[in-house]
Amino acid sequence: MSFVEYGDTIKNGDTAIVFLGHESMFPVKVQHGNVTQTKYGVIRHSTDLIGKKYGSRVTCSKGGWVYILHPTPELWTMNLPHRTQILYSTDISMITMMLELKPGSIVCESGTGSGSLSHALIRTVAPTGHLYTVEFHQQRAEKAREEFREHGVEHLVTVTNQDVCKNGFGVSNVADAVFLDIPSPWEAIGHAKSALKAEGGRICSFSPCIEQVQRTCLAMEEYGFTEINTLEILLRVYNVRTISLQIPDLGKAAEDNSSTSFDCSNPSNQGISCVNLQQGTVQFKSGVPLREMVGHTGYLTFATKS
């Protein structure tokens, strides 16, 4: 296993994702002799995991079963231990595409935080690119280094423990892209500019508040960035449900009912929706939005240095 390469079978030392069902999962570090407790019973790593194929179903001691999945940055984002607020895959997707990242890109990032975005960036720039990430919190920087080592991607990333607003990224004229997720990004724009390649590159700043965006945009303009563009992306998830709605009793005779104009009662349309006359209901499939959704994560401001 590695976060940058697929493997077929589970090996000692791998990080694997235990999938319990319906968005409930957690990561495990696979180790000989170790056991993991789940609500379906115990998983013994030596016998239940090591040597098995990723994606297989593992039966636990209580007879329940779980799936073991190959780690990906996206699964890691959903399961990582939070040390800070993290970026989720919806924003990460947009950042990756709008920063024009691809294998071989050199990226600067600050702060590292919990490493949610870092894993995604490393995945995209591997095997020839590199990530320079700066985190001013010493413990978090240490923890991130440790994780990158465990996940087999340490050769693709350099973690620096310093203040990006004061000391910059520790590199200059090498980056194709810079990403900022710090409270005062406008103070780091100058450093970002010098970290970017002389021939240009892209920059992105993530801020939850519009006041931060405003100051950042001004700073970007001041430093000669062009194509400044602010956007926001929201994810809507739908539950797939079969819904049945009752037909109101309008006091009409049963014969009348059968001739009511429900197109969907045609056999040709079955499967999409159907009328059940005996119960007086109409059934159909629907994508129902979740009751609550994430309404705001942050504004993404992009710009180009040319």
Binding site: L69, S89, E232, I233, Y238
Partner: protein, 453 residues
């Protein structure tokens, strides 16, 4: 070569040798290089009104007439100067608020100062351009949705991907960019051949195409049943010409339709869009030339047959390679974005994907994905199914004037994503109905348990 963009025409010759991101101004016919930063002329008279209570719309505020403006234009005066003239001859300009003045100048600049920036093609630029210009060609796949697909599909160097798209090759190009030439891609195509008009706009180096394979969808059945052989390949001569004709027709059609949309579009168009289109037209031209070459060769009797045969043989060889890759059934992911119903595509193509790998299906409409969701649940072998959509909102950020942009896109399509797992023995044998029945309640029970936790 003459290129038309936004009612302007120009030659690209002068643009060669400049770095990407250089801005040019169009003069009559050629390209004139322009300084990167133009000193703002707006800072001279900082005289402005506070509100619009005294501004009356009488249609007489602009003292220059239509003909005056036309005369200025015909004289070949710089756009910047025309804008200045317009401002000086506007009686209400001084009474307008500072913000309104700003807006007025911006509007006029857009109209009279024709500047063009030439930028490097990328997924970001091409997908934004296609969505703005030719949404029909890419099934209205909005660029943020494409970004989601690339992430959800865990696209990266070294993967072996299966791609089924009818988005002019844009999705294929995006996948190729993310894979950087490492790994392999098998493109499934309907009809006579894959469409790669958008792919060619990326300007990928040749090695990127070495591990790009294609396989006709119509041969899926025989591949799955094991009756696939080279003899049953699409009958070559007709097919070959068909491919050529099709792509030829497409490229031919492309140019006029692009121009049409240009003229129709009254919406704002980002400057960077320009250039990619230029590139496109250039590439198309190059292709045309190639076609001509081939045709010339073909006209020479025997040589022609030889060329056709050689092409057939090469095509056949590539098909066999693609079939072999598919037969291993260990692809690292599946991306579907087509005009076809997604359910049959997914049920068939998922067979070729290894367990614990992501797949993503795009559809402009939600309903087919609802059905697809249900069918996949019945089939089994997939988990973490998710039906989603993204909303994209652009902002105007200016001092004291920040707000969401007035218009936003109404829809960018829907995605169904999930992860493959090992299909259990009981379920994979579909003839065994009892096993199926046994399986369903237990999985449902499991689901209910999960919901309670």
């Amino acid at each position: 070569r003459k290129i038309i963009f936004e009612k302007q025409w120009f030659y690209l010759d002068n643009a060669i040798g400049h770095i990407y991101g250089t801005t040019f101004e169009v003069t009559s016919g050629g390209n004139l290089q322009l300084k990167e930063v133009v000193e703002e002329t707006t800072t001279e008279t900082k005289e402005a009104g506070a509100d619009n209570r005294n501004i009356v719309d009488d249609g007489k505020s602009q003292k220059l007439t239509h003909d005056d403006i036309k005369a200025l234009k015909d004289k070949g005066i710089k756009g910047q100067e025309i804008v200045q003239q317009l401002i000086e001859n506007s009686t209400t300009f001084r009474d307008k608020t500072e913000f309104a003045q700003d807006k007025y100048i911006k509007k006029k600049k857009k109209k009279y100062e024709a500047v063009i920036t030439i930028v490097k093609p990328s997924t970001r630029i091409l997908s934004t351009m296609y969505y703005a210009r030719e949404p029909g060609k890419i099934n209205h796949l909005r660029y943020d949705t494409l970004a989601q697909m690339l992430t959800l599909g865990n696209i990266r160097a070294g993967n072996k991907m299966i791609v089924m798209e009818t988005c002019a090759g844009l999705v294929l190009g995006a996948v190729m960019e993310r894979m950087g030439g490492y790994g392999s891609i098998i493109q499934m195509y309907p009809g006579g051949g894959p469409v790669r008009a958008a792919t060619s706009c990326f300007g990928f180096p040749k090695p990127f195409f070495d591990n790009l394979h294609e396989f006709p969808l119509s041969k899926m059945g025989s591949l799955l049943s094991g009756t696939f052989s080279t003899e049953t390949l699409p009958s070559e001569p007709e097919d070959n010409t068909l491919v050529e004709e099709e792509s030829n027709g497409l490229t031919g059609k492309k140019q006029p339709s692009l121009q049409e949309t240009e003229e129709d579009s009254t919406t704002e168009t980002a400057m960077e869009i320009n250039e990619t289109e230029e590139q496109e037209t250039m590439d198309i031209n190059a292709e045309d030339v190639e076609f001509k070459d081939i045709k010339e060769k073909e006209n020479k009797g025997n040589v022609r047959i030889f060329v056709v045969e050689k092409k057939q043989w090469e095509r056949r060889k590539k098909l066999i390679e693609a079939a072999a890759l598919l037969r291993e059934k260990n692809a690292d992911g599946l991306i579907v974005a087509s005009k076809f119903h997604p359910t049959p595509l997914l049920l068939t193509l998922l067979e070729f994907v290894a367990p614990s790998r992501p797949f993503v299906v795009y559809c402009l409409y939600k309903e087919p994905l609802l059905e697809c969701y249900t069918k996949l649940r019945e089939r089994g072998g997939v988990i973490n199914l998710k039906l989603s959509e993204t909303w994209l909102r652009n902002y105007q950020v200016l001092p004291d004037r920040s707000h969401p942009k007035l218009t936003m896109s109404g829809g960018g399509g829907y995605l169904l994503s999930g992860i493959t797992v090992v299909l259990d023995e009981g379920k994979s044998d579909t003839s065994n109905l009892e096993a199926l029945k046994m399986e369903e309640p237990s999985s449902k029970r499991c689901k209910i348990q999960d919901l309670h936790c």
